[in-house]
């Protein structure tokens, strides 16, 4: 069972959260070429391993969180707020 340590509420179980999406995508400029928009809207890295993604604490404080989770093991190595990022590994 996935458990997420919400910075506001503490560790809560999976059923309180809904999954958002890949949190590493950045919106292109409005006048960026169509090619870039296509990549943004439709293409995904879909990595096997560490994935940085959004989760919504829908049945808790209702904050959006950024989570680093392994897509093989479901282990969560970092949880922060949407504007934060996990520190690059030294």
């Amino acid at each position: 069972m996935i458990r997420i340590n919400c910075p506001y509420c503490g560790e809560r179980e999976h059923s309180e959260f809904t999954y958002g999406e890949d949190a590493t995508r950045t919106t292109p400029d409005n006048d960026a070429p169509m090619e870039e928009w296509n990549k943004f809207v439709y293409e995904r890295d879909n990595p096997a391993g560490e994935h940085i993604e959004y989760w919504h604490h829908a049945f808790g404080c209702r904050a959006w969180l950024k989570v680093q989770r392994n897509t093989f093991t479901h282990d969560i190595s970092w949880v922060g707020l949407p504007h934060e990022n996990p520190e690059a590994e030294s």
Partner: protein, 418 residues
Amino acid sequence: MGQYNALNIAWNALRGHKNWQRAWRDPEPKSNYDVIIIGGGGHGLATAYYLAKNHGITNVAILEKGWIGGGNVGRNTTIVRSNYLLDGNSPFYEHGMNLWRDMAQDLNYNVMFSPRGVMNIAHTKSQYDTFARRANTMRLNGIQAELLSRDEVLEREPIIDGSADTRFPVWGGILQPDAGNARHDAVAWGYARAADQLGVDIIQNCEVIDFIKHGERIIGVKTNRGDIHADKVGMAVAGSSSRLAQKLGIRLPIESHVLQAFVTEPYKPLINGVVTFGAGHFYVSQSDKGGVVFGGDIDGYNTYAQRGNLPVFEDVIAGGLTMMPCLSRLKLLRNWGGVMDMSMDGSPIIDVGPIDGLYLNTGWCYGGFKATPASGYCFAHTIANDEAHELNKAYTLDRFAKGYTIDEKGMGPYPKAH
């Protein structure tokens, strides 16, 4: 290797079943093939079979990292149907229905195709109206469909809770009478055996770890069993599509998600056809062995783990018990998960490219079992002729960039919602 037939069974029975041959060979990989198919799931096996049978290309290898039938082809809930709405999909899946009907004869393998009917239940008037629209569209496309009244639904499946005070009373239903189930691993084994008999090499425990390129063209693959060259390389690795494409620096319009399935202990005949609940996501049928087989939503987050989580487990069971309360008395025997290639519009990709020498088959979401024969048929055509068959010409990779998505549910680019 011989045909499977009644005489053969009797002959072998008299000799204590000691003389059966293995169903397909276990060859060492050659260094060179005309075509390599990566992935020995249903789609890869069917593709190799139709390459040999329809296009006379028999110097073909299927490279499977595990064993035949260990992927989604052996993990699904075996529902076969063609009740689609959109033009890109309907003819493709209906052609598949025709192939399903003849499959056992064609492969000389009992795939236990059982057109016992797929019935979706409506719980409100407006839901019933959308079913009427679907039935009309299907019939215009030459696909069988019937609207059912509440009584007809309950007559077909008496264990559905038909009481007026249930939380989601039954309003009516839609039936595709010629849809149903097939035995999933028999489909994998049947295609494997038939392809092998036509000369295809099925190479198990052979993982493709990278591609071999000559300039901008793919000319083979690197595997844990050595380098293997080929004129053409087809990819049919379902949930592993992005991982493999990444080796070529290609980002696909795909996310990998897990879908769970469940089976109970064998029980006497209880459910006649395939039934889906309309007020939640739950679909159920009963296997010929008696197990009640069911599933529901995907877990909803990116994953490559072939196991799911408990919240969806609970949700699926809750849906099932609302529709068929008596299921609560059955013991669950097994639960498992499979990793699926969820595409950005819920429809698949069968295409040439995007690199010379490469052919792509992916994006089956959780509906790719029914597509097995049609996908193999079309992918073989696409590989042999370097262009799509009429039936898969809408399944291009560049449809996203061009704005020609085929989005049955109208969900937009949210793979978890398809």
